[in-house]
């Protein structure tokens, strides 16, 4: 089961995990990654996430399909929010379910690495230094090399 959603509303990670497992007793492990809006030293007032409707879902579908090809998964959920978010708010949830833990860890980590570099989202920060678009990080591009 692959669940992909792009939404402005918050998500409930426990309910999403239950929904993903949905009584499948083959599942031995889930790994749930949640990303949050950070605010070091209260530097941030809010964050606004823009995305490219249509392409976002296509890219997430493609990343999920690649993860399912690489590891024997019993389920994969990807939820990413857009719009205005506050410090501490959850941004993204990825849950991978598998028989064995190593596959669940690898799949969730793989999805996050590719999502960071390929899903068309852009973050704009409002903070004490004014408003600025966040620049992409080299470390996120480098993270893809692990998966070659």
């Amino acid at each position: 089961m692959i669940n992909i959603r792009v939404q402005s509303e918050a998500f409930n990670s426990a309910a999403e995990g239950e929904n993903l497992r949905s009584g499948n007793l083959d599942i031995g492990a889930t790994v749930a990654f949640t990303g949050y809006v950070r605010s070091e030293e209260n530097s941030l007032t809010s964050m606004t996430l823009e995305h490219y409707p249509g392409m976002t879902e296509k890219q997430l579908d493609k990343i999920a399909a690649q993860a399912e090809e690489r590891w024997p998964l019993d389920g994969l959920t990807i939820i990413h929010r857009y719009g205005k978010l506050l410090p501490g708010d959850p941004i993204v949830l990825v849950i991978a379910a598998s028989r064995h833990r190593a596959h669940a860890f690898s799949a969730a980590s793989f999805v996050m690495d590719f999502l960071k570099s390929e899903a068309p989202f852009w973050k704009k920060e409002d903070g004490k230094d004014g408003t600025k678009w966040i620049a992409a990080k080299d470390s996120d591009l480098n993270a893809l090399k692990h998966w070659d």
Binding site: G54, V92, A119, P120, W122, W133, A135, D140
Partner: protein, 83 residues
């Protein structure tokens, strides 16, 4: 052909999308970028640094040499920062 812009490229150009009719000799992504830069200062500013431009043709990533002949929607945006 529809062009769509995101993030600071959208803000710098000053619009989120536009319809455009291209000269016949503009057939690739890099040709498109060069053509847009001829349209005014706001395009020059937005498209100045090729390493900060990502292109999608009909919602699939494309490189500078890709053909735009059969494209119906081309997106130009900076490197993504989600997650």
């Amino acid at each position: 052909m529809t062009l769509v812009y995101f993030s600071w490229i959208r803000e710098t150009i000053g619009k989120s999308e536009e319809e455009i009719i291209l000269p016949l000799d503009v057939t690739t992504v890099s040709g498109l970028i060069a053509h847009l830069k001829s349209l005014g200062e706001e395009y020059q500013a937005a498209l100045a640094k090729p390493e900060l431009l990502k292109i999608a043709i009909d919602q699939e990533y494309a490189g500078p040499d890709n053909s735009i002949a059969s494209a119906s929607e081309i997106a130009i945006f900076p490197p993504v920062t989600g997650g």
